[in-house]
Amino acid sequence: MTRPLPPVVTPRLRDKAQAFGLTTAEFDEVVTRLGREPNAVEAGVFGALWSEHCGYKNSRPLLRLLPTQGAAVLQGPGENAGVVDIGEGLAVAFKMESHNHPSAVEPVQGAGTGVGGILRDIFAMGARPFAVLDSLRFGELNSPRSRHLLAGVVAGISSYGNAVGVPTVGGEVEVNACFEENPLVNVMALGLLRHEDLQRGTVGAVGNRLLYVGSRTGRDGLGGAVFASADLSVASEADRPAVQVGDPFMEKLLLEACLEAFARDFVAGVQDMGAAGLASSVAEMAHRAGKGVDLDLDAVPRREEGMTALEVMLSESQERMMLTAKPGREVELLSLFDRFGLEAAWVGVVRDHGELRLLEGGEVVAAMPVEALNRPPEYVREGREDDAVLAARRRDLSGMPEVDDPAGALLTLLSSPTIASKEPVYRRYDHQVMTNTVVLPGSADAAVLRVKGTSLGVAATVDCNSRYVYLSPRLGAAHAVAEAARNLSCVGAEPLGVTDNLNFGNPTDPGVYHQLSEAIHGIEEACLALGTPVTGGNVSLYNQYVDGDVTRAVHPTPTIGMVGVLRDVSRRATQGLKRHGDVLLLLGDGVPGSGASEFLFRLHGMEAGCPPALDLAAEAAVQRVVRRLIMSGACDTAHDVSTGGLAVCLAEMTMTGGVGLVATVPALSVPGAGRDAALFGESSARIVVAVKPDDVAAVLVACEAESVAAVRLGEATGDRFRLVVEGREDSAIDLAVDELLTAWRATFEGALG
């Protein structure tokens, strides 16, 4: 079934503005910019390019706040992906994108094409994709719908990424009932390139010819950009054709052929045909060059008969690239694609008229100023925090009773899906193809890849605690940045840059706009403090669901993807305990509390309280210390204290290393914070390291130099996990490592069907 598109001529086009994804006011704005009424083709192209997905009309004024400059930044926002320098003439291109709505409707294809799209963004920068990470959110796993979505999304990422041959090396899975209807599927990809090989999404000079390469254009994915920007409802089932179908084999051919074309200097500019297909790729490429384009729609390869001009322009058929040839290299370029068995067609010419002109049968059927297409109206809205959120954050938690059985509470937390082992998920992903994966999934706080022919390593992580952001958007978003940097630091990598994927609800809801605005401010503050500029990202709004007769937004989720570099990849750390006798030290004095914690959620059924305080200077200091220790060779075991608190942190070090421990957790001097907060309370700026006894002095010296607190917790020993809170010997935890493992592993076993 194909979604019917408006006819080419309508007597009262303005009345139908909404069918094109435009409000009446936006339609009037199009009339002003054109100086005349648009025809239906033009209205449809404007509607797609001015959608939130393509035009960022609600988020752009806020996104301007983000710091984008830095010594390592070679390419900031505005291109297909950001690029950071990693030294030795090499660079990493990286970006994250969402495929939330397609995955909600058809999880396998929705997630698979999400991988395909982000890989094309990476190789469009001239980089060879070399790693994928994914950040996934679903409803509780006892729901059949959530298990269906989880299994489908994992299958989609697996079948696409594995076939293209790019390893999926890390990620996160968060589970909360708010994601039941509207899951979040964010995929981050990294690519490696030499500085001089950087490509850009531009049409280049007047007279350049545009080459369409890859799959033919069909009606699949039609209106995807509008679809992604509309509320998701039961009616989406009828939108199934708006979900594209992926072909990883075609992607692999395109990847190899494009990289060869770049290497042979045949190409002046290149861009993926992603959201809003031909319309957005050509309009954006023309805009970056400040030029116009004549686009011959009759020349566009099609797989279906009778497609209208608007359908051709907005189709989101997958695995298509738009290139501009370097003058004089057209014949060689065409024959290169022919050798790969790829279909390619000359579809346009660069002009100096500044318009995107569409030709059909030799007639101009649409003429739109490139500037107007790329400058959608911007909305600065009034945000106001929801009373319910305010009340939840301010809830008094001081009278919470202690749990009877701390050991049982630990096992409950280990089996919580957000903490539990994701091994059944990552076993489905080829995480080693390309033979660069130094740190395997599940063994460290970030993925680490070596760079062949150098001593360099590249580390990457994706992070967000959406409950923190829900309860305190500015603080929560800053936490996401801080945790990402902490995770990189815990493998020994220096953070270089950020890509953000902002998943929020409907921005016209003041409560949601407040979350969006506050979260972006939080990212800004943390990125400035930690020296990690934002090089690009993606905005996904309208993530919400119907609950009775109320529409509710999912937990606001500004997923942070962060990339870092290790100068010497042989000096790195993982989280598992490695040697009996190693000394466990807690670095940093972030104060744990139960507010917004996983403990409060899973043991007391509450999403309440304020997330932990975040001292960004302290955060930066403890991260510097850990990086320095790892780089000096004094430390090869580090793990940050995050979800589940210190007890879960230590349990994870035990389980991944297969070595037991004996440790004493410091009692808290804060009023109202008892044993449970000491064990399970969450905080910022805390990292546990395990070092040989001989290296303890070096750790203390390094901490002293940065005024970072260091406390000896205990040592790695035996095959039991023995933990006690200082002064509370009555409630010690004493469990076999195998008991921990059983609880930790059970949750996802069998969850993929």
């Binding site: 697996s158 594995n162 076993r427 489905r428 390309m434 033979t435 994966t437 022919g453 993929l752």
Partner: protein, 239 residues
């Protein structure tokens, strides 16, 4: 050491191969062997020391793993190379291509779990002979990674009896102690078979990836025993 007439080791690239560069890296950059990449439309492999069919998803593998690649022009040349006694190693998708091309008995079926699996496995060496397993005594245990969705070796009982009787089973999935327990059979292969050779012993297919396991930085070393056996053989022959 090598004669100038030799073209080195041929690593075949099919459209959709994605471990071809990994094989080149392991053989050439790590182990120091001369390597040439050979596109699937070539028809002559004379002059090469050995042929490696790498892993990946040749032609997308939308039909059946290796089924389309087996029809490629280069496969006639691989067949001729094998008939002349040249060593041919198929890894993962390469193993699938060799069975589909009839150069090895049996076939690779979908994993018992029905899902893709990427993990380390232990292999018990069942055959110690040139050109692939001279460095590995019978009964020794290797640790190598697997990454496949269609890797369950299948053959009828008669064929399996013949393979075992003639010593043509090269590797079997086992536990760390070398026992082929059912839980170690990662994909549900017939008799836990992970790799086989042809009757002449010069063509081997294996599902695990030795080319991913030649560098301590990546946490492995046992791939050197397999690829090293091959290099011992062909470099000596070339000298």
């Amino acid at each position: 050491m090598r004669p100038t007439t030799s073209k080195g080791i041929a690593v075949i690239s099919f459209p959709g191969s994605n471990c071809d560069d990994d094989a080149r890296h392991a053989l050439q950059a790590v182990l120091g062997a001369p390597v040439r990449m050979v596109w699937h439309d070539e028809t002559d492999l004379s002059g090469y020391l050995a042929v490696v069919l790498p892993g990946g998803f040749s032609f997308g593998d939308y039909l059946r793993g290796g089924a389309l690649a087996a029809q490629s022009p280069v496969m006639a040349a691989v067949g001729a190379f094998a008939r002349r006694g040249g060593p041919v190693l198929g890894i993962c998708n390469g193993f699938q291509v060799l069975t589909e091309a009839g150069l090895l008995p049996g076939q690779l079926a979908r994993n018992r779990s029905l899902g893709f699996v990427c993990r380390d496995v232990h292999l018990r060496v069942e055959r110690s002979a040139p050109p692939f397993t001279t460095r590995t005594p019978v009964g020794s245990v290797l640790r190598l990674p697997v990454a496949h969705g269609e890797g369950a070796y299948y053959a009828d009982d008669e064929t399996l009896d013949r393979l075992e009787g003639d010593g043509l089973v090269a590797f079997r999935y086992c536990d760390a102690a070398g026992v082929a327990v059912p839980e170690a059979n990662v994909n549900g292969a017939s008799r836990s078979i992970a790799g086989v050779v042809n009757a002449r012993g010069n063509v081997m297919g294996m599902m695990p990836h030795p080319e991913r396991a030649v560098e301590p930085l990546l946490g492995y070393g046992d791939g050197r025993l397999v690829l090293g056996s091959l290099l011992d053989q062909v470099m000596a022959a070339a000298a």
